[in-house]
Amino acid sequence: MKRRQGWLFFIIFLFTLSIYLLINYPLQLGLDLQGGSQLTLQIIKEEGKVTRDELEAVNSVIDKRVNNLGVSESNLQTLGRDQLILELPGEQNPLVASRVLGKTALLEFRIQKERTSTDLKTLQLQRLSIKELIDRYSLAEKIQNDDNFLKVIQDDLKDIEQELNYSSTSNDLYGKLIEIKKYVDKEITNLFIKTDLSGKDLINAGRRQEQTNSNWEVLLTFSNSGGKKFAEITKSIAGTNQLLAIILDGESISEASVGNQFASTGITGGSATISGNFSAENARELEVQLKGGSLPLPIEIVETNTIGALLGSKNILKSLYAAISGLIFVGIFMIFNYRILGFVSVLSLVLYGFFNLALYSLIPVTLTLPGISGLILSIGMAVDANILIFERIREELYDGNTLTRSIDSGFQRANSSIVDGHITTLLSCFVLFLLGTNFVKGFAATLGIGVLISLFTSLNCSKTILRFFTTYQSFRQKNLYLPRKNFSQ
């Protein structure tokens, strides 16, 4: 008896502890409960698997970019070997983040090949026309769909294609425009030779508005060695008609000449500006990308989930209704069938609920909708253990055994079935947790934790509470345990 009393205090202690934990460490809610966006980023590698180092490197670049964007409370974590998950809580538009994150931001400085000036000039003109066509196209998209307008764009595009001696393969007009632009960009880049100066040589990037007009420019600050390289490169082409190109992800964003006055030393001072007709937004995006460095491997956004805040709070409410009504009806069912025993199982279910939630805030487990369904489902499984035990107790009582003996052997004999049943469920949870997606993991985690806790609450808490009741003479009448049944003593 003494040992049981020790258990009783232990259980009361655990209960108080869980309430303390729940008050002081509130539960973390997933985005489907609080609203927000979640982006899944896939690292693309053509050959071989993504290594741990590469994953780390991509992770740190993305992390820097997200921080530089000034997104509040974002959360970035890796998923498996080649995916990252970015969570943006609240009403934040994932569009901005997606634009900044998706780019590799590989910055190169190249110098023009000799005797290519005419070629470059033609290509620059063509680039200008194609850019203009794209602008006209988006304008046409904004105003009503005007077939004549599109026809003109189409004809102009054909002219450019003829000049380039290249025909696009895309199905729709917009795809064609983008394809031609990429082709022109590639041709321009091909006119320049790589140097050893790249985005790696930057220590900072910034932006400012140009003084003469409303355009923005991006400022680059080189490291010591980068500054030297830059000086040497500019020195080599100063005063010639070769241009210096700044190339971002294969697209030349600026081509500039270096004046004769730099012929002796090159451009020193360790900084450069790119002024290529940036809007405030574009300049900020470029700044964020350059500050974070370039991605060692390209990434692709493969999944985006956005949930409004209102929907999130509705989901919480709905889950609460479901959980509470489930608990109440299970409670009624149990008390109806098992009387005092049923009441004991309701008490241990309440304990079960608190222990679960407390563990979520301790580990911590982020609560999501599938997670809640795992919790609600595990209520049924927790009750199952009680039912197994109570059925055994009933049988023992019918056989004419005393109450104390029936309770003891009921718990003892149900033991192996309970453990067996729990193990098969735990196996499933384990596999789900290892192989499942983020979404599925939430379910596996709560169901698994639930199954483990129910081993404790159904075997130990129920027994202790039951023993506590049976110390009182008035709770020891057998008809409190067996409904509507006359049996011989």
């Binding site: 609203g35 896939q42 009403e91 538009n93 569009l95 997606s98 009503q144 769909n145 199905n171 729709d172 917009y174 692709e300 956004i301 493969v302 999944e303 985006t304 989930n305 956005t306 949930i307 409004g308 929907l311 889950s319 479901a322 959980a323 009504s325 009806f329 069912f333 909708l369 599938p370 369904s373 609600i376 489902l377 209520i379 049924g380 499984m381 009750v383 199952d384 039912i387 197994l388 059925e391 079935s417 067996d420 049943g421 193990i423 098969t424 469920t425 196996l427 499933s428 949870c429 384990f430 596999v431 789900l432 192989l435 499942g436 997606t437 979404f439 599925v440 379910f443 169901l447 049944k485």
Partner: protein, 304 residues
């Protein structure tokens, strides 16, 4: 309250009933594979094939005005250049025209935002706070599918191993037969649901199959445990002992199923819509699982 299921008398009926259920499931799976537009054993949802799903509510003063989905789609088409995309768009309204749900092939975030703002122009104003949008790339979909199939196979293997170690060969074989019977029937029901109501399955369906597997085996194990225990202290014949054991465990098995079904029903009734089909699959699995544990698996153990 003693139960008396006449297992021995009804063995043939039980086995034929299960055979019919299995044949119906197989029929659904075959029909679905060869005679539907998607040509898959089951109607795979967005999680597995990729795409864009959007649900959003309209802001209406009193009742939301009626609209025809076709004319809205026509309007959307006029406002967008990507014709290919909008040929495969589906639009539905629920809750008295308040809730709008749209399915399209995969869109970029930008395209999806454009679609929403176009929609806002046509039947707005929309309540952005109620937005629920999911974009899944086709590559990820394929990966999720392989992931789910591997999870299923691995855990079925783990459960089979556990059962084989834990029981004699005969018991293990019949417990596993009952398990595959349950999974096949739930799968078959969803194949039919896909054919008739175009219900789609997503990754939560795979989760429900896994949970059903754990649950079904658990149920069968409890009854087999009881049979083993009673056979050791055998007073009556082999077949009679099995029937007695089943009747002894009948209350426990049905009660457990009821207490598990109650929370699931409350999710179906009160829970979030995204959990509806998931809870339904689980409920079906639990019903079929109890049937197979109480009636089918022990019947298979009976000697002629």
């Amino acid at each position: 309250m003693k139960f008396n299921l006449e297992l021995i008398k009804n063995k043939k009926k039980i086995i034929s009933f299960s055979t019919v259920l299995i044949l119906l499931s197989l029929l659904g799976i075959l029909y679905s594979t060869f005679n539907t537009s998607y040509k898959k054993p089951i109607n795979l949802g967005m999680d597995f094939v990729g795409g864009n799903e959007l649900r959003i509510e309209r802001i209406c003063k009193e009742e939301c005005s009626d609209f025809s989905p076709d004319s809205v789609l026509e309007n959307l088409r006029e406002n967008s250049k990507n014709k290919n995309l909008l040929n495969n768009i589906k639009l539905q309204s629920q809750n008295n025209n308040k809730l709008i749900s749209i399915r399209t092939p995969y869109l970029s975030i930008e395209e999806s935002n454009n679609l929403i703002s176009n929609l806002d122009n046509i039947i707005g104003p929309l309540n952005y706070e109620s937005k629920d949008s999911r974009l899944i790339g086709p590559k990820l979909g394929k990966r999720l599918l392989t992931n789910c199939v591997t999870s299923l196979l691995v855990s079925l293997l783990a459960i089979s191993l556990y059962i084989t170690i834990r029981f004699d060969k005969k018991y293990a074989l019949f417990a596993l037969l009952a398990l595959f019977h349950d999974l096949l029937i739930v799968f078959g029901i969803f194949s039919w649901l896909g054919i008739i109501l175009s219900v789609e399955v997503n990754s939560l369906f795979a989760v429900s199959l896994l949970t059903i597997a754990g649950y079904s085996v658990n149920d069968t194990v409890v009854i087999f445990d009881r049979i083993r225990e009673n056979l050791k202290s055998k007073k009556e014949g082999y077949n009679e002992t099995i029937q007695l054991s089943v009747n002894e465990s009948f209350r426990r098995t049905t009660f457990t199923s009821i207490t598990t079904l109650i929370p699931l029903l409350s999710i179906i009734l009160f829970g979030s819509y995204s959990l509806f089909w998931f809870s339904l699959a689980l409920s079906l699995g639990i019903i079929v699982g109890s049937y197979s544990s109480i009636l089918l698996a022990p019947s298979l153990l009976l000697k002629d």
